[in-house]
Symmetry: C2
DNA sequence: TAGTTTGTGTACCGACCGTTTCAGAATGCA
DNA sequence: TGCATTCTGAAACGGTCGGTACACAAACTA
């Protein structure tokens, strides 16, 4: 063997994620990635092959460290009846919290969806899969909240919530007020009729 | 006086709009804008001052030639009861039509919302105003469709439709199927109860 | 026709882009 | 200690970026 890696890959990827998240893939310059990660370009290219390789790693980190932890309660078995509402409430809070990266940069993947990088098939698939994952989780949450309702109605509701979350992410950067409004719309749809 | 302009400004701006729409502001290179408009950079800079100046003109053209014509029936007085449904149906058709720019590039302004250009205050305001204009028009449409319902309920419905349209635009590029699904969700919300 | 104003083409500016190369420093194993 | 392997720093690659300078062609007014 030879010398071992002195930096923690996970930490580096997380730092790169911040840059991609704030700037988008195209505008994230290699010097900016060097500065954020503390790595020289040489090390970056040695470890990740290309800017794109680092981006792909950052996307995985985004899914694993940001998206999925928030969705986890919706994947429990059984799902708590309040889990969907908790999810939306938590997201709402994040979008409102000043300085929070989700608040001023939205969602890495929703942003990618409207950017030039979206012309890449693999990225397109990743974003579509992300949406499907979100939809599936919200579906479980809706089922747990309204177990008595017809499946078609629960599906309709889950579709609506998914779209509302996407729309919130799409507009946070320019109009946080209506982004929060989208989530509030979703929360109203999930209200239980008075007993 | 001296020589007069030999090109039609409106045509040039429309050509530039196509480039910005497909590529986004940052990735729209000056050479690409030259090719699309048929103008030399010198003429572009003489007439519009900067790439950004041309972009601003393109945004106005987008609002005037693309957004507002589609919204026009919703601004009529009185609004036809079917106008909202027609709007959503027409948009749905455009998002499905292959080769249509809205189908493979979404909405210029929703895309801008997740891009680096969204850090510019003027652009932020423009996109927020665009959303407000869409919301207002859909609000009129919803009012015309359900004149008997309470105002709060009509507002809720208009908010939902607006978010659903935004979410459709946000994802067309990567997942046209669920984009259409968002519009279908909106159309279902607008169904009239059987008489 | 003379003079003035304005549009247009060519060439070039410095800056930055992502990527590659290569030498050397650092650390593992035998 | 010596070798092997890997990480790291510096420098340079060709290419493209948005923007500018300037000369000239064009077309209007008088």
């Amino acid at each position: 063997m030879g010398r071992t890696q002195t930096f923690e890959t996970a930490r580096v990827v997380r730092a790169a994620l911040g840059v991609f998240w704030r700037s988008g893939y195209e505008a994230a310059s290699v010097p900016a990635l060097e500065a954020a990660t503390g790595l020289n370009r040489s090390s970056i290219y040695h470890s990740f092959g290309s800017k794109r390789g680092l981006f792909d790693a950052a996307v995985q980190a985004y899914l694993d460290d940001v998206v999925r932890p928030r969705l986890r309660p919706l994947l429990a078995d059984p799902v708590a009846p309040g889990a969907v509402v908790d999810y939306l409430t938590g997201l709402r809070a994040a979008l409102v919290r000043p300085g929070e990266i989700q608040a001023d940069s939205g969602c890495l993947l929703v942003n990618a969806s409207g950017a030039p990088i979206s012309r890449d098939d693999a990225v397109r698939q990743t974003v579509a899969d992300y949406r499907a994952e979100l939809r599936a989780a919200l579906g479980r949450g809706v089922d747990a909240r309204f177990p008595g309702r017809a499946e078609s109605e629960r599906d309709r509701l889950a579709d609506l919530c998914t779209s509302l979350v996407v729309s919130a992410f799409a507009l946070v950067r320019v109009d946080p007020h209506s982004a929060v409004g989208s989530l509030d719309s979703a929360l109203m749809l999930l209200e239980r009729p008075r007993s």
